[in-house]
Symmetry: C2
Subunit: 312 residues, 2 copies
Amino acid sequence: MAEGHFPRLALIGIGLIGSSIALAARRAGATDHIAIHSRTPETLHRAENLGLGDSYHADLADAVRDADCVILCVPVGISGAIAKAIADTLKPGAIVTDVGSVKASVVAQMTPHLPATAHFVPGHPVAGTENSGPDAGFAELFDNRWCILTPFPETDAGAVAQLAAFWRRLGAYVESMTPEHHDLVLAITSHVPHLIAYNIVGTAADLETVSQSEVMKFSAGGFRDFTRIAASDPTMWRDIFLHNREAVLEMLARFSEDLSALQRLIRYGEGDKLFDLFTRTRAIRNGIIEAGQETAAADFGRPHGGDEDQGG
Amino acid sequence: MAEGHFPRLALIGIGLIGSSIALAARRAGATDHIAIHSRTPETLHRAENLGLGDSYHADLADAVRDADCVILCVPVGISGAIAKAIADTLKPGAIVTDVGSVKASVVAQMTPHLPATAHFVPGHPVAGTENSGPDAGFAELFDNRWCILTPFPETDAGAVAQLAAFWRRLGAYVESMTPEHHDLVLAITSHVPHLIAYNIVGTAADLETVSQSEVMKFSAGGFRDFTRIAASDPTMWRDIFLHNREAVLEMLARFSEDLSALQRLIRYGEGDKLFDLFTRTRAIRNGIIEAGQETAAADFGRPHGGDEDQGG
């Protein structure tokens, strides 16, 4: 096989990430054939209408037959069931990977089922939007984003290199770490942020003293930023919290401890300490912009005024 | 005076909001003369180089002399000192207003100093970006955003109507409420969101198990959205928390209570309840988009890929 090229690629699940992989792989010439499976008939149909793949399979085993690389793009809670369903059909030497935001649980779920003849290399492209489904994908999603691989020490180095080269073809940078470290990193950079966004949107919805209409009208003061990530796919996020429980609870405890300290600073009017924290946090954003992971444009470069806000 | 037109407008403070008012008022033909004061010589100089006003005054009293409308665009903590300094120079019949994100404290600070011959109408345009200073302003900032006025029952109705018309000329919608209700609404739609954003960015910076470089590289999973509002002006935000203490602590208590409940759901693996919350929060974002306060474009319409992320 050419570097980073899979003659036959199977995508299990065709939501935001699956459809973006299909489009990015096509753009990069990283595959000759994309076989697509979805457990939802309407989604499979929609993927076909959008022309995302070369073949469409209601049956899981059909989708992975003869595939050189199989990518699970499904909520992490069903990884084990899928591994079990495809195990007997996997071509010897096939690479099996996934895109889940939790790695230790996915490893624990899938490893017992997969044959020794397959190369299992868990993965996670750290990229996304709040939209879901096969219509949400776009070829540029992974450009300049990081894809984390969590191979086992005993995994075939050639298979890991081949998968890394595939992700680089799709526009991503690649880094390797252990599943456990991945889960800690993502707990603070993704899972707890989502949790507190979901939480404050829920809090605001339940208030008796402030109406929902007021919350919406006056959301431009900061609240609306939180609603973006609180609009992400509920099934995917339920599974993430159930399957990265320990790391999420650990990071959440740190967050709550810090928040209590901050609350105390406000209660006792400690302006200098508030000022110090608010100054320090500015530097982190600049680091993220310098790392190429964020736009420097004010307000995310959101359009202002006019009727662009009336869309969709 | 023509409706919403002030022959002479004085801006006290020329940061993001002050400079945006200058540009928006000019765009709308809502004034004939803009007099600008800043307590920082460099800022006043910069405003002059940018051509934001018609006259520039290092002395506060000079700036407000003969002004038909005086707008305080300063951190809320110095509202009282400014009211005291301008009181003797205010033209009889002048409208005095502000743009602070806290209203009850501003009212308490300013009212004792202002002469009965001036019309004091506290205000707050709910709009902004994470940038600050006279270079950050733009004429479209208030377009389709809400400006809240909190007039007293005894305030001259003509003065209130005139100020409301001015804000509408600048592109904003106008709503009136009491200072106390304003402070509750903003505590949940702006102040607590900022507080938890500052907090999680601080938590992430202090971890021993995850490096700052990892936090930055893998921030596209959600964290980076929080860094935007945690990059806002530290002085402004210190003052907001010190001056809206009661409402912030009340809303923060609700947030923390809800977060504890959510933490419990994760600990005990209550997937259905997590799913329900995550579904409910999606609807709120749709409401905000329908209310014209947010773009429907995925990921705030952030550009993806390419080198747009390398800017400034």
